[in-house]
């Protein structure tokens, strides 16, 4: 039934243009900025809307009229079939220009794909992907690819996800892992002849000494080689992922996962020791991290300011009944927070051209959300983490 409806909707193509409820207006902009805590004065001064608000203008409200919107039709059908819970997983928005106060915008949407039923860590469900475009008159002003997961909450606790493989710790290499825990990249140094060595061992191959000490590496290096792993599945990881063999300036090599855009041999990297395992990241300018306490007030006020009335974003009992541990941030807010982080750091007047995000673990009330970012020319790669894992990875393109 789900697949048949999906095929019918897909064949039907784009919906007719539907008007937003209100024109772009200052009260909603101010309300949104206030809820996001975004102090950027440029929007009000220039009479333009924050680009990350694009979806807000055409949200359907608390008691929406019946609609032919394919996402709505598929969602209702999934509801009837028992896939009652929903999370948004991906949003990729491109802004052709910023909207001005007073403009009337229309929205069109088409169903791109419905994939399922898939087993996910949340429960069995369907991934629904739509493509949305916004117009002012005949002018296309923005577009978005959006994916949600409609799922049947797993009974009881969610099935255990595969744990990643753990390091093999011995008396000869414990210093390395203690270093990782302490935020240091340690290299074995012979206590007699001083030679540096990795991977470490009990005896110096150069002089034979058992006297082993360690030095602290600078944490930098260049890519000697790398692999992009696709198949088969590796426990605790989502493919494709990249693993790099890195030449350290200290004269040794080291293997670790590489996170960030795909590297080339010779690219500079810097170690990230925030997790249980070292990670190589491109050695490019980083944004100063931003730590945000996610209060219930933040979640509720941003949900309402983005005109998202899904109960999981304001009603704790409902959120728990649907398998969550508390209310959690909606994707429109995460998009807004990513935008705020980038404009806060790069300058309020920096124009945002697109925001692409993928959601990971939900960000619940009382979580602490930490954003970090790396600058690759006109693109900023952003990661938002909570204590439970990565909430969002995103890529923001700004005007040069």
């Amino acid at each position: 039934m789900i697949l048949e409806t999906a095929e019918r909707l897909r064949a039907a193509g784009e919906t007719p243009a539907a008007a937003g409820r209100d024109p772009v207006n200052l009260p909603m902009i101010r309300n949104w900025l206030e809820a996001m805590g975004d102090a950027n004065p440029v929007y009000e001064r220039t009479g333009t809307a924050p680009p990350a608000m694009i979806q807000v203008w055409t949200m359907r409200g608390l008691t929406p009229p019946t609609s032919t919107d394919p996402l709505q039709v598929m969602s209702n059908l999934c509801d009837e079939e028992g896939f009652v819970a929903v999370v948004a997983t991906d949003s990729s928005q491109t802004y052709h220009r910023h909207l001005r106060v007073g403009e009337e915008i229309t929205v069109r949407s088409r169903l791109e794909s419905v994939i399922g039923p898939k087993r996910t860590s949340l429960g069995e469900g369907w991934f629904i992907t739509t493509v949305t475009t916004w117009h002012v008159g005949d002018e296309k002003v923005a577009e978005m690819t959006f994916r949600i997961l409609r799922y049947r909450p797993a009974a009881g606790s969610p099935p255990p996800t595969a744990e990643p493989f753990e390091p093999v710790i011995t008396a000869d290499n414990a210093f390395f892992w203690e270093g990782v825990a302490a935020g240091e990249l340690r290299l074995q140094r012979c206590g007699e002849c001083g030679v540096l060595r990795h991977p470490p061992g009990p005896a110096c191959p150069a002089c034979g000494s058992f006297k082993q000490e360690h030095a602290i590496a600078a944490g930098t290096g260049t890519v000697h080689s790398y692999v992009v792993h696709h198949h088969p599945p590796v426990p605790g990881r989502r493919a494709p992922f990249t693993v790099a063999l890195v030449d350290l300036p200290e004269g040794v090599r080291m293997v670790a996962e590489h996170r960030g855009p795909r590297p080339e041999i010779g690219d500079p990297v810097r170690v990230d020791l925030d997790g249980d395992l070292p990670i190589w990241r491109p050695d490019v300018p980083a944004l100063e991290p931003w730590t945000l306490d996610v209060t219930p007030t933040l979640i509720v006020s941003t949900a309402l300011a983005t005109r998202d009335f899904q109960n999981v974003h304001h009603d704790r009992d409902s959120a728990v009944r649907l398998g969550g541990k508390d209310i959690f941030l909606n994707i429109l807010t995460t998009t807004g927070l990513v935008q705020r982080f980038v404009t806060d750091r790069l300058g309020f007047s920096r124009k945002i051209k697109s925001i692409r995000i993928r959601l990971g673990t939900p960000c619940h009330a009382y979580d602490t959300l930490v954003f970090t970012g790396q600058v690759f020319g006109d693109r900023v790669d952003v990661i938002g983490r909570t204590a439970n894992g990565v909430h969002v990875t995103g890529s923001v393109v700004v005007a040069s």
């Binding site: 790398y226 792993h229 696709h230 088969p232 590796v234 494709p240 395992l277």
Partner: protein, 379 residues
Amino acid sequence: MTAAIAGIGATEFSKDSGRSELRLAVEAIRAALDDAGLRPADVSGLCTFTMDNNSEIAVARELGIGELTFLTRIGYGGGAACAVVQQAVLAVDAGIADVVVCYRALNERSGRRFGQAYVSPDPDSGWHVPMGLATPAAQVAMVARRYMHEHGATGDDFGRVSVAMRRHAATNPHAWFHGRPITLDDHRASRWIAEPLRLLDCCQESDGAVAVVVTSLERARDLACPPAVIAAAAQGSGPGQFVMTSYYRSSTATLPEIGVVARQLWQRSGFRPADVRTAILYDHFTPYVLMQLEELGFCGPGEARHLIAGGGIEIDGRLPVNPHGGQLGEAYIHGMNGIAEAVRQVRGTAVNQVPGDGPVLVTAGTGVPTSGLVLTPNL
């Protein structure tokens, strides 16, 4: 060397044997003994891989062998293939055993698949597997990428190896890929496994068993089949050696352990690469076929892609490699099926026979401590 391979035997090669590994071992050994014209009671030594799940004593019991005077094993996965034969030669030469059977039996597709992510308790693996480098393909891909970078090899160069092996397997009725040749476009279209390796750069996972019977050349002359004389057998490990992850030595785009084996083989046998009639090269992953050709001296460093171009390693090429289809085309029996093919080439009984009476070279698992053989007819 005064020893020879007097018999070879194998089960069918499949994806689901439906039988225990022990039974596969027994079937292959019986076939090898029948081939040699020997009885189980003639066997005094058994030798296999440390990875083999069938104990020598269980094999001996099932075969009704009785007493054994020589029981041994070699480690490092497929690197053991030719080394188990070397063990047999050493035992025969030393007078410790008269007839030694080398065997390898595995349900590697229907049982534990070597291609899956796996961590061993070995501290060496702890520097790679937890970091996500958790499969043999990914571990080889790291070296392959560097090799491409240093020598300008491309994915198509790897693909040509696969095309050659599948061409040979297509006319080998025992090969899993019998009747199923591929084109370079098929290789290009196959999915990524671990970039830069595609599915068609990776050997199969197979169920099956192979056994070979080693005895003195003197005795072999009196047995049922023409002996394959073991002109040289060698084992080798390189400096800074790891299992599949020798990433910490000066060059990562080489296989020095194969060089260690090659130097011994040429020196002991008195042959040179140009003498080789056909080479059975361990082909678990295509890039390592190119690198072996270089380490063995068939061409200079980085030049293998030129040797391979234009069908250079195909049955009618300059150096026919793996006329049985290799592990990419016939089956993955940890290199032991390659030794059996070398014996058939020496005897002149292979389905894709390479004419002549020159020596046949065999190598074992690469990227690990490895081994090699040079076999010749008894002229």
